[in-house]
């Protein structure tokens, strides 16, 4: 099994999760993070609303799913096809990281391995 983690723009979460469902992804979860990469942050007010500072980090959302190895490309394609903003490829659209998962257990049944995913 592999774990696929996609760091995406928060406003794309609905689209990406829909695409995952359509791609047959059995389950996933997501959470908000603060990210920093090439995308430069924004100017924000600090203190009592008269001074500004640049915040280099931006809000992102991580969507993670654990799937059988053979779904890898399908899932990646689903994410690539749904996570891009309106501009078709802007800095800050995010990343996907893939890593190996050794084992999985379904709490309800105690099932192991791919059957548990």
């Amino acid at each position: 099994m592999i774990s696929i983690e996609a760091i995406v723009r928060p406003e794309r979460v609905t689209q990406v999760t829909q695409a995952l469902e359509e791609a047959g992804c059995p389950g996933f979860y997501y959470y908000n993070i603060t990210g920093q990469g090439r995308q430069r942050g924004v100017e924000v007010f600090v203190g009592r609303g008269a001074q500004m500072a640049t915040r280099s980090s931006v809000p992102k959302t991580v969507i993670r799913t654990v799937v059988p190895d053979d779904m890898k490309e399908k899932i990646i394609d689903a994410i690539l096809g749904s996570a891009r903003g309106p501009g078709e490829g802007d800095i800050g659209d995010g990343k996907i990281f893939v890593s190996v998962v050794e084992d999985a257990v379904r709490v309800r049944t105690g099932e192991r391995g791919e059957a548990a995913v």
């Binding site: 203190g47 009592r48 001074q51």
Partner: protein
């Protein structure tokens, strides 16, 4: 006793009391999120401490007959004030109550300079001493019949000197002695808190200013109108300045601007008309905006800009009262109405109250700092951890599941 004035002054007193929780949220929203509770508490606890001090001895020191500098102990514990004894058109006890609310919020204003690092237990002691030694005398000077500034004809309708300049310079004294926070502030932790706080302050300020004539009459109405006008003008000014600065209008800036306008109109509210109020609000917006931008460059960590807003705004308001006062409203002419002498009195009032407050606050804080077991500053570890947990054993927000 005029029941209409009693009705209004009861309401006004309630409104001013409500300003303190409003301030708690205003300041609480400006702090970083692990210091929300502690910042709120710095204001809120003043309601508990100062209310008690006021009825026990504070009122007597401020408004007991005494001399030009301070009242006496004749009204300690409010003794011998009957429920139907009058002070003008209203019961004296109502005057006691109304004034109490001012004594509560003034030290709370100072705490904007304390946030994120002041030791809470020391603060409790500070509250008692400061109200006694700084607030009560200044209130006496300006508002008691025997007070020397009152006699000198200084105009301060609702507390520009007594409340705002006083708090503003005490904040400077505190920032000097406290030193910088280990981590300076960034974005406010909770903007909606700042806005609801500002909303409550604006609402309550009608009691503050329109109550300061102690009657439900035309002067109260005028004070109400100019209060609103100055708040609006300053909020708008500040908002437009942020728009010019960055093409974005800071909500916190607008809220701060409103407060700056309210501060500046406070001493003037019984003396100026609506055009004066517009000018005062505009001036407060500009002056305090630049003060908030520039004062941090001094290196002083007046964390929430108390001096920039209440000090600068208060001084501007006190002087502006001398400029814009008009006989048609409050019976006294200012500079524009051809009475330049009033400006001199106003400058004296600013200098005297500001000077006394600064020196006395500095001494009080220095003494508290060196008393064993007290001390001004929380430990580094507590400061890093955030004072909510360290000083209050509480976190502001606890969510289910992972918390």
């Amino acid at each position: 006793m005029d029941s209409g004035s009693v009705a209004w002054m009861l309401t006004a007193s309630a409104l001013v009391l409500f300003m303190t929780p409003g301030l708690a949220f205003f300041y609480g929203g400006l702090a970083r999120s692990r210091n929300v509770v502690s910042t709120i508490m710095l204001s809120f606890i003043s309601m508990a401490v100062v209310s008690v001090v006021w009825v026990l001895w504070g009122y007597s020191l401020a408004f007991g007959e005494g001399n030009a500098l301070i009242g006496d102990l004749s009204k300690i514990g409010l003794k011998d004030i009957g429920i139907n004894d009058l002070s003008g058109e209203i019961p004296e006890l109502l005057f006691v109550v109304f004034q109490m609310m001012f004594a509560i919020i003034t030290p709370a204003l100072i705490t904007g300079a304390f946030v994120e690092r002041f030791k809470f237990t020391t603060y409790l002691v500070f509250l008692v001493i400061w109200v006694t030694v700084v607030y009560a005398p200044i209130a006496h000077w300006v508002w008691a019949g025997e007070g020397w500034l009152f006699k000198a004809g200084a105009l301060d309708f609702a507390g520009g000197t007594v409340v705002h300049i006083n708090a503003g310079v005490a904040a400077v004294a505190a920032a000097l002695l406290l030193g910088k926070r280990r981590k300076l502030g960034g974005e406010p932790g909770n903007v909606p808190y700042v806005i609801i706080g500002a909303g409550i302050l604006w609402f309550g300020w009608f009691g503050f200013n329109a109550g300061s004539g102690l009657a439900a009459n035309g002067l109260a109405v005028s004070a109400f109108l100019v209060t609103n006008t100055a708040a609006a003008a300053a909020a708008l000014t500040w908002g437009v300045l942020t728009l010019i600065q960055s093409k974005r209008m800071s909500a916190v800036g607008v809220a701060t601007g409103a407060v700056a306008g309210l501060v500046a109109i406070t001493p003037a509210s019984g003396y100026v008309g609506v055009m004066g109020a517009l000018a005062i609000g505009l001036g407060a917006g500009v002056l305090c905006y630049f003060a908030v931008r520039l004062l941090p460059k001094t290196g002083l960590d007046d964390a929430l800009g108390v001096f920039a807003v209440h000090g600068v705004g208060g001084i501007w308001g006190a002087l502006a009262t001398g400029i814009f006062a008009t006989v048609a409203i409050g019976g006294t002419a200012g500079l524009i109405d051809g009475n330049p002498g009033q400006m001199v009195t106003q400058v004296i009032a600013v200098a005297a109250t500001g000077g006394y407050s600064f020196v006395a606050s500095l001494i009080i804080l220095k003494v508290l700092d060196v008393i064993p077991g007290l001390g001004l500053r929380a430990s580094e570890r507590d400061e890093d951890q955030g004072l909510d947990v360290a000083a209050h054993g509480e976190r502001a927000f606890v969510s289910d599941g992972a918390d």
